[in-house]
């Protein structure tokens, strides 16, 4: 069994910088901002070549919808 959340420490200066950055934006907290930015960076680093182009992906999704696997 794994816990869904864990805690890390970051420099206070960085924390304050992020607070300023997200003021007035839709991002709700420093933690959300970090999760979003780091998550996107990791995805980019891990990215494999796309299997489907846009048209192929829509075709496969439509097929899976008609088959009842997704909606």
């Amino acid at each position: 069994m794994s816990k869904e959340f864990t805690t890390i420490s970051i420099p206070t200066a960085l924390y304050r910088k992020i607070e300023e950055t997200i003021k007035g934006t839709e991002v709700s907290s420093v933690a959300s901002y970090i999760a979003k930015v780091v998550g996107e960076a990791l995805l980019k680093a891990e990215a494999e070549p796309e299997v489907f182009n846009k048209e192929e992906e829509e075709k496969v999704k439509d097929r899976l919808k008609a088959l009842g696997y997704i909606d």
Binding site: E4, V27, S28, V60, L64
Partner: protein
């Protein structure tokens, strides 16, 4: 060199048909009469993807990091990715066979697009976008197959209510697949041969209501009453032809990835979340709108869902989702409260439901990938989940996305016939037992990270 073993995969075949009605299928009856057989508990979730992967790698979906055909991309609200063969990170039966000098022929095991290099040959499956895509390994296998048999048919079109048309297509697809398999059995060097016939799943989803007297839309004496059973008889005869070409000492495994049962209806999970105050939309949606195409007010949304044969629920958590609402320290409390609400959901006539709920991070020994916060099997999967929106009801009598009368059952079936160790015995197994059983039957060692047992040992 390994002993030869042929796996005949019948997608969605339940033991209630294959084993309980064995007297109607002479070939399968002979295998049951000489082999281990019984129910096979499928994966959680019991869906084509990841079940076939779970079966052939001997690993559960948590370890595989795969929970269905599609997955949320990270913690985004609306980005998703479709599971393809690139999602296979774990070693499968054929990799072990290859390590020991054996060769495998693999036909249409989901997901096998794009076709990957394997120690042997491979034809991909129904997530191949179109005929024009490269769909074999090695690439030249496609030219050979098409020259002899014409274009390979991965699946049937499932967007029509014309049942006669669906029936015709299912038979045409199955006939061609068995022709191709028979050809490969005879012309290829192989030690492990495995294919999945998707027609069994398709005919059940399209015709269940015509043959199951307990289905709420069943009408006695209809013209499709025996459609499913007649198809099984056809497949039984075709299996007989394959066995004649497979070799007398070849061990045979007939197996399904999960079972089937009647659909009672579809429960509108996102409509329910709206009514319970967990999901807020910006506009009134059109009937049947997908949630990812519907503007959601994320600042006033705590939970949203995806539909299909089971429901996935996602929580909008601060520090995780871009506009998270639930504080991380409240996450478990909110999950427990949601579970209580879900378990209290009743049917349209107030009937109690045997709903099953899974917390992925607690259910699997190891949990990887993009897993949901909750997995929900409404009324033990009898009620599929409709994640689409714009309904003035929580209950739909029919599927929200296409012609479909059946849902999945947790248990599929298997028959293991070993001509060198004949003897009929009923032993129920788990899906994780299949890979160790196959490898042991072939005389190969079982990797230490395959947790399952050898059937009947």
């Amino acid at each position: 060199m390994p002993r030869k073993l042929l796996v005949i995969g019948l997608d969605c075949a339940p033991s209630e048909i294959v084993i309980d009605r064995r007297a109607e299928f002479p070939v399968l009856d002979r295998l049951i009469g000489g082999g281990l057989h019984g129910k096979m508990r499928s994966s959680d979730p019991p869906i084509t993807i990841p079940a076939w992967m779970s079966m052939t790698t001997g690993k559960d979906p948590g370890r595989l990091g795969l929970y269905g055909f599609r997955h949320r991309t990270g913690y985004s609200y609306d980005k998703m990715w479709i599971a393809t063969s690139q999602a296979w990170k774990e070693r499968a039966i054929w990799d072990v066979v290859g390590d020991h000098g054996g060769r495998s022929v693999l036909v249409s095991i989901p997901p096998s697009y794009p076709p990957r290099r394997v120690p042997g040959e491979l034809i991909s499956c129904f997530i191949t976008p179109a005929q024009e895509n490269a769909y074999t390994y090695p690439p030249q296998l496609r030219t050979e197959i098409e020259a002899k048999f014409g274009p390979y048919q991965f699946d049937v079109v499932f967007r029509t209510e014309d049942r006669d048309e669906i029936l015709k297509e299912i038979y045409a697809m199955t006939a061609k697949r068995f022709d191709v398999i028979g050809y490969l059995l005879e012309t290829r060097p192989w030690d492990f041969f495995m294919f999945v016939e998707i027609g069994v799943d398709r005919i059940q989803h399209a015709f269940w209501k015509y043959s199951d007297p307990e289905h709420h839309l069943y009408q006695p004496g209809n013209k499709y009453e025996t459609a499913i059973i007649e198809y099984y008889k056809y497949v039984d005869a075709r299996i007989g032809e394959l066995l004649a070409r497979a070799g007398e000492e070849t061990a045979v495994l007939v197996v399904s990835d999960h079972g089937a049962k009647r659909m009672k209806g579809a429960f509108c999970i996102n409509e329910w979340l709206i009514r319970e105050g967990f999901l807020t939309l910006k506009d009134k949606p059109q009937r049947g709108a997908s949630i990812e195409k519907t503007p959601v007010d994320w600042r006033r949304t705590k939970v949203w869902g995806w539909g299909g044969y089971y429901a996935r629920l996602f929580f909008n958590v601060e520090g995780r989702e871009p506009q998270g609402l639930i504080a991380p320290e409240d996450y478990e409390k909110e999950r427990e409260a949601m579970i209580d609400r879900l378990l209290a959901v009743r049917g349209p006539n107030g009937e109690a439901w045997a709903t099953r709920i899974i917390k992925p991070n607690e259910h699997y020994p190891e949990v990887r990938g993009d897993y949901p916060d909750l997995m929900v099997y409404f009324d033990d999967l009898f009620w599929r989940s409709a994640g689409t929106l714009g309904y003035d009801t929580l209950y739909l009598a029919e599927n929200d996305t296409g012609p479909d009368d059946a849902v999945h059952a947790q248990e599929g079936m298997y028959i293991l016939y070993d001509p060198l160790r004949k003897g009929s015995r009923r032993v129920d197994i788990d899906i994780l037992d299949v890979a160790p059983t196959v490898l042991t039957t072939m005389g190969l060692p079982v990797p230490a990270d395959m947790r399952g047992k050898v059937a009947g040992a």
